[in-house]
Amino acid sequence: MFEYLIFFVFAAIAIIFALVVVLHRNAVVGALSLVVSFFSLAVMYVLLDAPFLAALQVIVYAGAIMVLFLFVIMLLNLQHVQEANTRPVQKFLGYTSAAAFLITIVYYILKYAAFTAPASPFRADAHQIGVSLFEAYVFPFEMVSILLLAAIVGAMLLSNRSIDTSESISTEVMEQPDGESGAEVTR
C-alpha cells in the first residue's frame, strides 16, 4: 500500500514538472523542472528494483547532463530571452497529434500488455550488471567508449569559434615561433 502511495505521488511530480518543461517560456525554469522530473523517475527506478540505475539516473542525468544544459543556457545568456509565440496551427497540430498518440498507446497497453505482476522480486545489483557488461556486452561497451570520444572531439570542434581562421593562425605561428602565439592557438 505504501508502495502505491509513493508511486502515485512521484508519478504526479514527474508529469507536472514535465509539463512545466514543455509549457514554460523560460529555459532556466524548464531545465530545473526537468531535474525534478528526473529525480522522480529515479524513484520509479527504485520501485522497479533497479537501485543501481536509479543512482546512475541521479548522477548522470540530473547531475551531468542537466548541468551541461544549464551551463549552455548561461553561456549563451538565454535566461532572460522570452521565446516567440508558436504559430496557432502548429500548436494545435502538435497538441492534437501528441494527444492522439497518447490515447492510442494507452489503449494498446491496456489491451495487450495487461501482465500479472511478477511473483518473485527482481534482483539486479551492480555486481550482476558489471559481470553482464564485461562478458556478454563487452563489444557494445567498447563501442560506447569510442562514441563518447567522438562526441568529445565533435563538441570541441563544433563549439570552437576560431575554426574558420585556424589556417591563418597556424601560418602566424610558423612566422613567429614564440611561446605566446602558441598559447593563443590552444585557446
Binding site: 514543455v22 520509479m44 516567440a84 497497453i109 511478477p118
Partner: protein, 100 residues
Amino acid sequence: MIPTQWFLILSAILFSIGVCGVLTRRNGITIFMSIELMVNAVNLTFLAYARQFNQLHGLIFVFFIMAIAAAEAAVGLAIFISLFHHRETIDVDEANLMHW
C-alpha cells in the same frame, strides 16, 4: 508489487509530453530537453519490462542509452552554441538555410 502497465502508462504520458514539446516549441534548448524527456520515458519502459520478464538485458540497454544520451547532449549543445554564434538566436525557425 505495482503492476507493470502502470509504469508503461506513466512512460507513455511522459513520452507524449516530450512529443508535444518537440512539436510546439521554437526554442532549440527546450526542444532538446523534450527529447531528453522522451529518452527517459523509454528508459522507464525498458526497466518495467526488465522487471516483468526478470531479464538483465533491459538494464544494460538503459545503461547504454544513458551513455548515448550524454554524447548526444554534448554534441547537440555544441551545435546550438555554433548556431548562436552565427545567427545570434537559437530559435529553430531561424535556422532555415536549407529551407525550400
